[in-house]
C-alpha cells in the first residue's frame, strides 16, 4: 500500500506542477483573445479595457492562478472567451470523445501486439518473424500524418466509410443499433490510423521482451516438465516479460495522446485535438490550460494504471516495498 500511496502523491505533485507551468506559459505568451478586437473599429477601446478587467487579464499572475484554482474547485476550470461559458462542460464533451478513441485504440493495439509479438518471438529468426520485422520497420518509418492522409484517400476512393466527424447528420433519428453502427463506422478510420501508428513499436517491444525471457532457465525447466507450448508462451513467458511491457504501456498512453491530437485534427474527430488547436489560435487561454491539464491527467492516470499493473504482476515489488 505504501507503494501506491507514494505513487499517488507523486501524481498529485505532477499535476500541480503541470498546471503551474501551463498557466505561466499560456499567460506569458504574447497576444490575448482581445487583441483582434482592437483592430475592429466598431468596438470602443473602453469596452476592451472593461472586458480585460472583467476577465482579470490585467491582474497579476499569482492572483489569476489562485482564482483559476478556485474556479477549478467549483468545477468550472475558468471561462472560455470564445464560447462565453465555463470551460469544464465544453472540455468534458471533447475529452469523452478523445477517450473513446484512445481507449479503443489502446485495447485494439495491445490486443494485436501481444499475440503477434509472442508469435514472432516464438519463431525468432525464421521467415515469418523476419517478414513481420520488415513490416513493422516499414510502418515505423511512415509519419503518422502520411499514414492518416493515405487512409483518408483510400476511404474516399472506396466511398463506404465516412471520412470525418463522429456521427452522421441523422444520428438522432437512428435506433440504438443504428447509432452504434454509425459510431463504429465513423471511428474506423481514426482508430485504424492510430493503431497502425503505435502497433509497430508495441510489436517490436513485445517480441524483444518475450524472446529474451524464452531463453531463461525456468522456461527450459517448464518445457522439461511437459508444459504445453501455448501455456509456456502465454502463462510463463508473458508474465515474466511483463515489467518492461508495463512500462511501455504507460509510455504508449503518452504517445497515443499526442498522436491522437494530430489524427483528430486531420480526420475532424470532435475531440480535444481540434478544440485545443482552435483555442490556441484564438488565445482562449483557460481552454488551453484546461486541455493541457486534462491530457496530463490522462497521462498520469495511464501511468498510475501501469504502476498498478506492475504491482499486481510482480510479487517482488510488493515485498520490496514492504506492503
Amino acid at each position: 500500500m505504501r507503494y501506491l500511496l507514494r505513487r499517488s502523491a507523486h501524481a498529485a505533485f505532477l499535476l500541480l506542477g503541470v498546471s503551474l507551468l501551463a498557466f505561466a506559459f499560456t499567460v506569458l505568451a504574447p497576444g490575448s483573445y482581445f487583441d483582434e478586437m482592437r483592430l475592429n473599429p466598431q468596438i470602443a477601446p473602453e469596452t476592451i479595457v472593461a472586458l480585460r478587467s472583467r476577465y482579470e487579464l490585467d491582474r497579476p499572475l499569482p492572483v489569476r492562478y489562485v482564482h483559476w484554482v478556485i474556479s477549478l474547485a467549483h468545477g468550472d476550470m475558468g471561462f472560455s472567451f470564445a464560447y462565453n461559458t465555463p470551460v469544464a462542460p465544453l472540455l468534458l464533451v471533447r475529452a469523452r470523445n478523445t477517450l473513446l478513441l484512445t481507449v479503443t485504440v489502446m485495447l485494439l493495439a495491445w490486443g494485436i501486439a501481444l499475440p503477434l509479438g509472442i508469435w514472432s518471438a516464438d519463431h525468432l529468426g525464421r521467415l515469418p518473424d523476419r517478414l513481420l520485422s520488415w513490416g513493422t520497420a516499414a510502418l515505423l518509418v511512415i509519419p503518422d500524418l502520411v499514414l492518416a492522409l493515405g487512409l483518408l484517400v483510400i476511404a474516399v476512393k472506396m466511398g463506404r466509410l465516412p471520412t470525418g466527424g463522429m456521427v452522421s447528420l441523422n444520428f438522432e433519428n437512428l435506433s440504438f443499433l443504428g447509432k452504434t453502427r454509425d459510431l463504429l463506422l465513423h471511428m474506423a478510420l481514426p482508430v485504424a490510423a492510430l493503431v497502425l501508428s503505435v502497433l509497430p513499436l508495441l510489436v517490436r517491444h513485445v517480441r524483444a521482451a518475450v524472446a529474451e525471457v524464452l531463453l531463461a532457465p525456468f522456461l527450459l525447466a517448464a518445457e522439461g516438465h511437459g508444459i504445453p507450448r501455448r501455456t509456456l508462451l502465454y502463462r510463463y513467458a508473458l508474465p515474466a516479460a511483463a515489467n518492461p511491457l508495463v512500462a511501455l504501456f504507460g509510455f504508449s498512453i503518452g504517445t497515443l495522446l499526442s498522436g491522437s491530437l494530430l489524427i483528430e485534427v486531420v480526420m475532424s474527430w470532435p475531440g480535444l485535438g481540434p478544440f485545443l488547436l482552435e483555442a490556441i489560435l484564438a488565445r482562449d487561454i483557460y481552454v488551453v490550460i484546461g486541455g493541457v491539464l486534462l491530457s496530463t491527467l490522462f497521462l498520469v492516470g495511464g501511468n498510475f494504471l501501469a504502476d498498478l499493473l506492475l504491482y499486481w504482476a510482480d510479487p517482488r515489488i510488493r515485498t520490496e516495498t514492504g506492503a
Binding site: G224, P315, R316, T319
Partner: protein, 382 residues
C-alpha cells in the same frame, strides 16, 4: 570407424551378461549402502545392444550431439554415449564442466538448445525412441513419465508465480482434471517434501520468499507430481550450502525409497555419490570412460581420469599435518580444449599414465568384470 572397438567390446559384454541365468543368484552379495539393499547394481550388464533387457527402463545407444561453435569446428558435446538405466536404480553420472553431462540430461528428453547441430543415436523408453518422437508425444512424456530436475533452483522456478501454481501447471499439463484434483494433489506432493504446517505456506509463496533448500524441494515436488518412473537430476545440489546439500540428498534418498524411483543423478562431485548411487558412469569429453558398481568405482577407480579426480579432492585429514602444507595431486591442464577434434584418447593430453598408443587410437570399452567397464588401453588384453 573409430567406434568399432567400443562396439565389439560392448557386444562381448552383452553375451557374458546374458549368460547369467538368474540375476539375483550371483553378484547380489550383502552390499549395503546406507540401509538400502542394492540388488540391481551388481548384476546389470553395462549395456545391452541386440537383445531386450528386462530390467532396463531407459536405454541410450550411441547418442551423439554436436553443437555449432563460433568460428571453430562443431563441438561434440556427446560422442557415442551408450548405457542403460535399470528399473529402480540410482545411476550416478560423474562429469566435470565440458563433459557433456548437462547435454546428456536434456537430450534424453529431446530438449535441445537452438545451436544443437546434429543429434543421432537412440533413446529407448518403454519401447519408444524419444529422439524420433513427435513434439506432442515428447511433451506427454516430459514431467509425466520422465522428470528433469534442473540445477540452480534459484533460476529454474518462474519468478512471479506462486510455488503451488507452478506445481499445478505440471499437473494440468498431464491430464489431472478439475480444481479439486489439482489442489489435492499439490498438497499431497508438498506434504511429501515439507512438514504439513509448512507446506501450506510454501504453496502460497513466491520463489523469492523461499530459501535455496525450499526452492529445490519445490522443484522436486514439480518433478514427482505426476508420478514419473524416471527422474533425471542435473546437479541438483551444486549451488546449495553443505548442510542444505545433505538435506536435499536425504530427500532424494527418502523419495527413492518411498516412490521406488529410478534416478539418474548427475554431479561433478564424486563424494555425493558415495552411499547413494548404485552404479556410477564417468563422463569425459562426451564419452563414457568408466561404468561400474558404485562401490567398485569409488573404492578402486580404474580409469586414470577417475583415479586422479578422486585424488584431487582434499581428504578430511584428521591426522595432524607434519611438514607444512601438501599439494593436492591435481590433474594438469583443462578439459576445455577437448572440443578440438583430435585422434586418440580424449584424456591423453592430461593423463599421468599415457602410453604411445593413446595418441593415435581411441580406446574401446574393456570389461573388467561383468559389471565394470572402462575405456583405457591399460586394461586391454587383461
Amino acid at each position: 570407424m573409430k567406434q568399432e572397438p567400443a562396439e565389439s567390446a560392448l557386444v562381448k559384454t552383452n553375451q557374458t551378461g546374458s549368460s547369467e541365468s538368474s540375476p539375483f543368484s550371483k553378484g547380489a552379495e550383502d552390499v549395503n549402502f546406507g540401509s538400502l539393499p542394492i540388488r540391481f547394481a551388481l548384476f546389470t550388464p553395462p549395456s545391452c545392444f541386440n537383445m531386450p533387457c528386462m530390467a532396463s527402463i531407459l536405454e541410450v545407444r550411441d547418442l551423439r550431439v554436436t553443437y555449432r561453435s563460433r568460428g571453430g569446428p562443431a563441438f561434440r558435446a556427446l560422442d557415442g554415449v551408450s548405457f542403460s538405466l535399470e528399473s529402480g536404480e540410482v545411476l550416478g553420472v560423474l562429469g566435470e564442466s565440458g563433459s557433456g553431462k548437462s547435454t546428456l540430461a536434456t537430450s534424453l528428453l529431446g530438449l535441445f538448445c537452438a545451436n544443437a547441430l546434429t543429434v543421432s543415436g537412440t533413446v529407448l523408453f518403454e519401447g519408444q525412441d524419444l529422439l524420433q518422437a513427435k513434439p506432442g508425444e515428447l511433451q506427454k512424456i516430459r514431467g509425466n513419465r520422465i522428470s528433469l530436475i534442473f540445477q540452480e533452483p534459484s533460476v529454474a522456478l518462474h519468478p512471479t508465480m506462486r510455488a503451488g501454481r507452478q506445481i499445478r501447471h505440471v499437473l494440468a499439463a498431464h491430464g489431472t482434471k478439475g480444481r479439486r484434483g489439482f489442489d489435492q494433489r499439490t498438497r499431497e506432493v508438498l506434504e511429501q517434501l515439507f512438514f504439513a504446517e509448512e507446506a501450506e505456506r510454501i504453496r502460497r509463496s513466491h520463489p523469492h520468499q523461499l530459501s535455496g533448500g525450499q526452492r529445490q524441494r519445490v522443484l522436486i515436488a514439480q518433478a514427482i507430481a505426476c508420478g514419473p518412473s524416471v527422474i533425471i537430476a542435473d546437479e541438483p545440489t551444486a549451488s546449495l550450502d553443505p548442510t542444505t546439500q545433505m538435506e536435499i540428498l536425504g530427500v532424494f534418498r527418502a523419495l527413492r525409497k518411498s516412490l521406488s524411483l529410478t534416478m539418474m543423478f548427475i554431479t561433478h562431485n564424486p563424494a555425493l555419490l558415495a552411499g547413494f548411487a548404485d552404479r556410477i558412469l564417468v563422463l569425459y569429453a562426451g564419452r563414457v570412460i568408466e561404468l561400474g558398481p558404485a562401490q567398485g568405482v569409488l573404492a578402486s577407480p580404474k580409469h586414470p581420469y577417475t583415479r586422479s579426480l578422486f585424488q584431487s579432492i582434499p581428504p578430511l585429514a584428521s591426522a595432524p599435518r607434519q611438514a607444512g602444507k601438501k599439494k593436492l595431486p591435481a590433474i594438469s591442464g583443462d578439459s576445455f580444449s577437448s572440443s578440438v577434434p583430435r585422434e586418440g584418447c580424449p584424456f591423453e593430453p592430461r593423463c599421468p599414465e599415457r602410453m604411445d598408443i593413446c595418441k593415435s587410437r581411441e580406446p574401446g570399452l574393456v570389461n573388467l568384470s561383468e559389471t565394470h567397464t572402462v575405456s583405457c588401453f591399460r586394461y586391454e588384453g587383461q
